[in-house]
Symmetry: C2
Subunit: 321 residues, 2 copies
């Protein structure tokens, strides 16, 4: 998250005056994530996260995100809970930004997940998919098929400076995905960004999910494909099929994939790898002066994409049928 926006004492106090949270005991910027400014806020009433939504988040989407966290928590998915102020509002403004306070979630994110962590993530993902079924708001996935050509366009000029032939290879992959992208798969609310740093554990018990700011309506199996990319590769970008098996089988114990989803999984995994390669590539080529976050290497996802290109069926990911 890093901290992009300074919050003055007066502004913080005026904002907190709208809430029943008692006196401020501690207020510290958090050095994780990349999209928003996040502060750990401790008051006489407990521990909270205060988020300022920076420009990459569309303010019109905030009711979706905030409503979703409330909806999921009511259905047993442990995630941060928006705190409403005395006027009953979960969203306000602070330091010129939309802002919200959410409850603090215990747990740490796992830097080196093992097979058991992957299983826990698969189960939690499926439970989230079921819990979101009756959520009434909708949000399109801005970073799916239609969102990729503009990203490629933005990165086109610099792509080959990152790796030889990267522009051409990426364009070819995009063309293939446009021809083969599945439609009509079972879908609903997906997390769309369930990376390691968005899943908390206490020991090996999964203690909650955070960061719903890419959540949207899309195919459930695409969310699983994102998790295969995020959780089941080793640091050298080799695929660990035991982790894939643990992730998929735990998912299926809660929500079984249908035949169309199984058939589509390799293409969805390619799409998910391309999506993260493209956003990372754009960020990599556009590091602003004074940037507070080191960009992530896009080539990690180029390598993962290459693996998916050689996958023959979902069995290669560890699916047991």
């Amino acid at each position: 998250m890093a901290v992009y926006t300074e919050v003055s004492d007066d502004a913080l106090n005026a904002f907190l005056d709208l809430y029943d949270l008692g006196d401020v005991v501690s207020f510290k910027g958090i050095a994780e994530g990349v999209e928003n400014s996040n502060f750990l806020l401790r008051t006489s009433r407990g521990q909270f996260i205060l988020t300022l939504y920076e420009k990459r988040v569309n303010a019109d989407d905030l009711p979706f995100f905030v409503g979703l966290m409330e909806h999921l928590a009511e259905r047993g998915v442990t995630c941060p809970q928006p705190v409403r102020n005395r006027a009953g509002e979960a969203l306000g403004r602070l330091a010129g930004r939309p802002a919200a306070i959410v409850t603090f979630l215990d747990g740490i994110w796992i830097r080196r997940p093992n097979v058991r962590h992957c299983g826990a993530v698969g189960e939690a993902l499926a439970r989230m998919h079921l819990a979101g079924a009756d959520f009434p708001l909708r949000r399109a996935n801005a970073l799916s098929l239609d969102g990729w050509p503009p990203l490629l366009h933005a990165a086109e000029e610099g792509a080959d400076s990152v790796a030889p032939l990267l522009r051409e290879q990426t364009a070819a992959e995009l063309t293939l995905l446009q021809a083969r992208w599945p439609v009509g798969l079972p879908g609903g609310v997906i997390h769309a960004d369930l990376f390691n740093d968005n899943v908390f554990f206490l020991g090996e018990r999964l203690s909650g999910l955070i960061d719903f700011y890419f959540a949207c309506n899309d195919a459930f199996a695409y969310d699983l494909a994102v998790c295969l990319n995020a959780w089941c590769f080793e640091p050298d970008n080799s695929f660990n099929v035991s982790k894939g098996q643990a992730l998929i089988s735990a998912y299926e114990r809660v929500r079984r994939l249908d035949g169309a989803e199984v058939a589509a999984l390799p293409i969805l995994a390619r799409g998910a790898a391309l999506r993260f390669m493209l956003t990372r590539l754009v960020d990599w080529l556009n590091v602003p002066p004074g940037a507070k976050v080191a960009p992530k290497n896009p080539l990690e996802y180029r390598d993962k994409l290459r693996f998916h290109q050689h996958v023959r069926s979902a069995a290669d990911y560890g699916l047991m049928r």
Copy 2:
């Protein structure tokens, strides 16, 4: 502080196994400061700060810093307390860095200090000077007079790209300070970096001092001169004499300045301004690729230095005699 070093799960657990701190409940990087990597660590036993000392901190100095925090706290100065492991050690190694755990200090740092905050800082500074009197270890001030020529040398080439004539003006100031720098002033352990973000308040009550990683042996009045620079200027770099008066008079209620200190204060304030201008200038000209911390503007201290150059005596800072 930002986070320069990733800590793996296994490494963290192995490190914490040496301590009696119970189970980890939360572990988050903190986005403040610039020198070290700091993490907020919550365990079943309480809240702590885990610090990895990065390369700008000399490992040989760590026993001084850690010992000083223990020494000051025993004498009533509220500051983080090093936590010793089961072997009685306050310093260990984690992720290839020297590392320590200290207690968490409640409070927030003040973005826009008022006159009362300045008074509280003056009093705390004087109490710290008295409390450090019998601290047995010694550490030279590496960023005093002898440390400035190498900094100027490092910044010489790029200085005029930051502001016209900056190189020449800085060299002239250094020459003047070398001729007039006071010797033999009352001294002892000083904080040497008591900026806003190193002083915590709960409401208007000062709740503690942090970040002793520039602490050293030097003239007490130099520490006061650092605070005049850090606390008594407005955002437009104009000097607020009411704040200066509050700072100095509160300091003197605990420890009265002698005649030599009063006479030296304007020169010490110039030296302090030059010290922060030089380190900021070097950082400004050497932002590494992928830097996680935006460099601070050196010209803030050029402007403060200009004010000090026109000061006639300590009375201009608000000293009442």
